[in-house]
């Protein structure tokens, strides 16, 4: 098995958020770690992301957030559940205020990575928590928020 352990993830913006830098950097970090990345880019609705997740059979969804539109991230989690894909964790990264990060975790987001998060912590979390992750690699769910 490769360093990426055969894992496949989505990296996407959500809603009308057009800030792409963070998502592109995370996509690159994950690819460099051997993880297969499906980069969806901008203007993705929760519905589109869920459809892509099912079609591409991904193991985790990473949402880059710079638009304070957290409701859509919650919708994404709910929509995954409704489609029987609740075993695909949703991870969020970006400038999310702390109380929002806590709310997102309560609503089922697996982790929130604030600006300044290191590459290692992101990779470790993804490998430890993606669908079908090897037991023992799990990291606490709140990332370093």
């Amino acid at each position: 098995m490769s360093a990426g352990q055969g894992k496949k993830v989505i990296v996407s913006m959500i809603g009308l958020d057009g800030h792409t830098t963070g998502g592109e950097i995370v996509a690159r970090i994950l690819r460099d770690a051997g993880i297969e990345v499906v980069y969806l880019g901008c203007n993705q609705t929760p519905e589109m992301i869920v459809r892509a997740a099912i079609q591409e059979d991904v193991d985790l969804i990473g949402i880059s957030s710079h638009a304070s539109n957290y409701g859509q991230i919650v919708s994404l989690v709910e929509l995954l559940k409704r489609n029987g894909a609740e075993d695909v964790p949703v991870v969020c990264g970006g400038n999310v205020p702390k109380h929002q990060a806590r709310l997102l975790i309560e609503k089922g987001v697996a982790a929130v990575f604030p600006p300044g998060s290191g590459a290692d912590s992101i990779i470790r979390f993804v490998l430890g928590n993606a669908r079908g992750a090897t037991a023992g690699l799990c990291v606490n769910g709140e990332g370093i928020a």
């Binding site: 057009g18 792409t20 604030p114 590459a119 290692d120």
Partner: protein
């Protein structure tokens, strides 16, 4: 090991001496303030003749919410100009009652999707006597201009007395703030609005700016090179395609520079920018007027450098950057805020940022002397160096055929991606230290909790419902007629200026989504960029 190099990767020496500027010729390379090549600035008296405009960006929630914030900023001493950023809905030129728009109306800015919103935004606020700056993205350029023209007419204001900036170049959409409208449409409408303000002598500027590029991860030399490439391409198009005189075109652009924490490098960049523009204007565009060699430069202290961790530290970063902005002689400064990495500015954070400017302006003495770092071995060497590096990047872009050609080939996007990744790596590996992030990190539980301003959930839906109801109360036959005319005009080719038809449609309260929808249809595109709604009007 901490890296001692400029942000564009040139090694920095421990000390600089006269040898580092042996080639410098004062008259040729610097000149007095107010003299070519304007490295030292455009005004012999600097801030003694005019203090910079001290402003803060506003925009969150409803238009009435933003109006209250603008009034509050005026109380806090913001008098020279106002600055409002649009939300992602208006930036995309769909409506707040669009299925996607209603999810985030007013979330990240002002939901300015109709003239009604602009009227509410500006209630009890004069259009004259201060600069009116509306930012966000390129697509709403024609609409923002139409709002100003329409409201001025309604209020009986003399349009020639209104100044500011409501136009924004189409290139920004490539720099980490992607938009939904196609580039060729954005470019066409940008040229229409530009031609309209130039021919009608409206004192509205166009943001042709490197700020987004640098804020998305680009370095100083790249930002400088791209600024020149964008200016050159757009000015050329206005001269050759729209038949305008360069000396008139030169009144249009303004540059918003991003000022980060690399104090001396930021100062060098702006000094080099003035010199490069002056030479481009005189040597390439054969400017006849001296004024055409002046580029209006505003500064934005860098939001990207504002950290999530230990947000109070951002007050210090902001102060250092504001001082740099003052030293370079920026015409206006708007500041990032201590809570920039968390949310839109809270009243406390906004006050801190404005006060930072007031302190730099009135307490430090930095505003008393023009270009105080001129002659510094270090700063002059840095100015030459960033200019040299920028010219090298610019030459590569020109070889490809200019900015648009370079974007078509994805070269500029790749340059930005590489640089942003490099910056991330430098911080991740500790080559560059950021206090509180990768150096002197504090346990999260000891962090000071700052107030965070947010839009209450449900407000977006409220903004959407208001528009839905209000749309029905308009003079619908008039809206349909104006949109039909716009649709017809939009079929007359790229050189046919749509501004008059857009202004008429805006005056009839046609909305952003409707106006863009019919223009898109005339160009063979779907009414809705997301293909979720159909055109509600029967076009004649």
């Amino acid at each position: 090991m901490m890296k001692r190099a400029t942000d564009y990767g040139y090694a920095i020496k421990p000390v600089y001496t006269p040898e580092d500027i042996a080639e410098l010729d004062y008259r040729r390379d610097l000149g007095e303030p107010g003299a070519f090549p304007y490295t030292r600035g455009y005004h012999p008296e600097g801030y003694r003749s005019r203090m910079w405009t001290q402003r803060m960006t506003a925009g969150l929630g409803t238009s009435r919410d933003a109006n209250l914030v603008l009034k509050k900023y005026r109380e806090m001493g913001q008098r020279g100009g106002m600055c409002v950023i649009s939300d992602r809905v208006f930036s995309s030129c769909i409506d707040v009652d669009h299925p996607l728009g209603r999810r985030e109306a007013g979330v990240l800015g002002w939901p300015g999707c109709s003239l009604l919103e602009f009227e509410e935004l500006m209630e009890d606020i004069p259009l004259t006597g201060q600069s009116i700056t509306l930012l966000g993205s390129c697509a709403p350029t024609t609409l923002r201009l139409a709002y100003v023209v329409a409201l001025a007419e309604k209020r009986g204001d003399d349009l020639s007395k209104i100044h500011g900036s409501v136009l924004e170049s189409p290139f920004e959409n490539y720099f980490g703030q992607t938009d939904v409208q196609p580039f060729d449409l954005n470019l066409k409408l940008f040229l229409d609005a530009s031609e309209y303000v130039i021919r009608n002598r409206i004192r509205m500027r166009a943001a042709i700016i490197s700020q987004h590029f640098q804020e998305s991860g680009g370095n100083n030399a790249q930002a400088l090179a791209l600024e020149m490439a964008m200016l050159k391409e757009l000015c050329t198009l206005l001269v050759t395609e729209r038949g305008l005189d360069f000396d008139d075109v030169a009144t249009l652009p303004y540059e918003l520079v991003s000022i980060g924490t690399r104090f001396f490098e930021e100062i060098a960049k702006v000094r080099a920018l003035r010199r490069m523009w002056a030479r481009l204007a005189r040597e390439h565009f054969k400017a006849k007027k001296e004024k055409s060699c002046h580029l209006l430069i505003a500064a934005h202290t860098s939001g990207r450098t504002m950290t999530y961790q230990q947000p109070l530290n951002n007050i210090v970063r902001c102060a250092i950057q504001t001082l740099a902005g003052a030293i370079v002689g920026a015409t206006a400064i708007d500041n990032a805020t201590l809570d920039n990495a968390h949310a839109e500015p809270s009243p406390l954070a906004a006050r801190m940022s404005l006060n930072t400017q007031h302190i730099v302006a009135y307490e430090t003495g930095a505003a008393d002397v023009v270009d105080p770092l001129a002659g510094s071995y270090f700063v002059e060497a840095l100015t030459d160096e960033v200019e040299r590096e920028a010219y090298a990047i610019l030459a590569r872009i020109e070889e490809m055929g200019g900015m648009i050609a370079a974007l078509d080939r994805g070269v500029v996007q790749d340059m930005l991606r590489e640089e942003a990744a490099k910056r991330f790596r430098e911080i991740d590996t500790g080559e560059r230290l950021v206090v509180g992030v990768n150096h002197l990190v504090m346990p999260p539980e000891e962090e000071f909790e700052i107030p965070v301003q947010e839009l209450p959930p449900g407000d977006s839906e409220g903004i959407a419902r208001r528009m839905e109801e209000w749309k029905k109360t308009r003079d619908l036959p008039l809206v349909a007629a104006r949109l039909s005319r716009l649709h017809t005009d939009a079929g007359k080719g790229d050189r046919f200026n749509l501004m008059p038809a857009i202004i008429d449609a805006v005056k009839a309260y046609a909305t952003a989504g409707e106006i863009f929808g019919v223009i898109r249809m005339a160009r063979g595109l779907s009414y809705d960029p997301f293909n979720m709604i159909e055109c509600p009007f029967a076009l004649q």
